[in-house]
Symmetry: C2
DNA sequence: GTACAATCTCTAGCGGCTAGAGGTTCAAGA
DNA sequence: TCTTGAACCTCTAGCCGCTAGAGATTGTAC
């Protein structure tokens, strides 16, 4: 396999061209060799590193976490516990987020249920926004 | 009730001072009157408008949606259907987000379950990131 | 040789704030 | 009345993870 241009790499890994350059800029991807005309050329290693990054981003890891995971993956003899901790930390934040959003969903559903589909004057949606205390009181929930 | 300084408004509505100035800047809050020394002073109307904004932000509405909701709330004789639609649209996006995050959560849990807590060399977490195909195959899921 | 797609660098923008510098005003206490 | 000093002011820049665009250069297929 010959080296890839940034566009070919982009198509192969499904990461946009400016994003690849951005990853290089922030040090997630190493500086690649260039052609005489200063265009980037990527080898197999860059492909798998970028794939790693993309999968981690798909799983919602932050760039800093990915940086740590990448450097761990380069140390095969170390214990994998630090990687474990990173994943656990992320899982917990995802779980917290899901809980928050579930509360939100309930709240929004109530708003829609209560709406009488009449005029703004008597619209519960607008009323709830204008005076949230009322909402809490009526539904007996703490928001 | 006399007019409030921006700090008093901030404490009363639980919105930070720079955020209030930001809302003014983007036109969510009207330009308030000033003292002779150019300090902002807020009346009761500003308090309730800011409360409205805060509740809507707490419910995850984007600024543009809030702008629409605010202008609807100023037209009590109009049908409330547009407000309805905004809330529904938001609810749907919250629901989509919850679904995405639930898939993510499952994925992360699998990663942790599969981890043998040994060396990075044999760590499933790192392997899954390095080669996602393997993961899909083993769990029989499409990610 | 020529056309033109792809690449290059650089800067700015997105949303929704937040932080800090450096200067001014207000209000309470002496 | 004067003096602190907390609160206010404006302005710019930064956060995250990209994305978009301008304007110039390079690579490649015909």
């Amino acid at each position: 396999m010959t080296d890839l241009s940034i566009g070919e790499l982009s198509r192969r890994v499904a990461v946009k061209v400016p994003t690849i350059r951005y990853y290089e800029q922030i040090g997630l991807l190493p500086v690649p060799p260039r052609t005489e005309g200063r265009q980037r050329r990527y080898g197999a290693q860059a492909v798998s590193r970028l794939r790693f990054i993309r999968h981690a981003r798909d799983l919602g890891f932050e760039v800093e976490a990915i940086r740590e995971l990448l450097s761990l993956s380069a140390m095969p003899e170390q214990p994998c516990e630090p990687a474990d901790r990173i994943v656990l930390r992320h899982l917990e934040s995802v779980e917290r987020r899901i809980e928050q959003l579930s509360l939100l969903r309930a709240e929004l559903r109530h708003m829609l249920d209560d709406c009488t589909h009449g005029q703004v004057r008597e619209c519960r949606i607008i009323q709830v926004l204008a005076d949230h205390e009322q909402c809490r009181h009526e539904h007996g929930r703490t928001v």
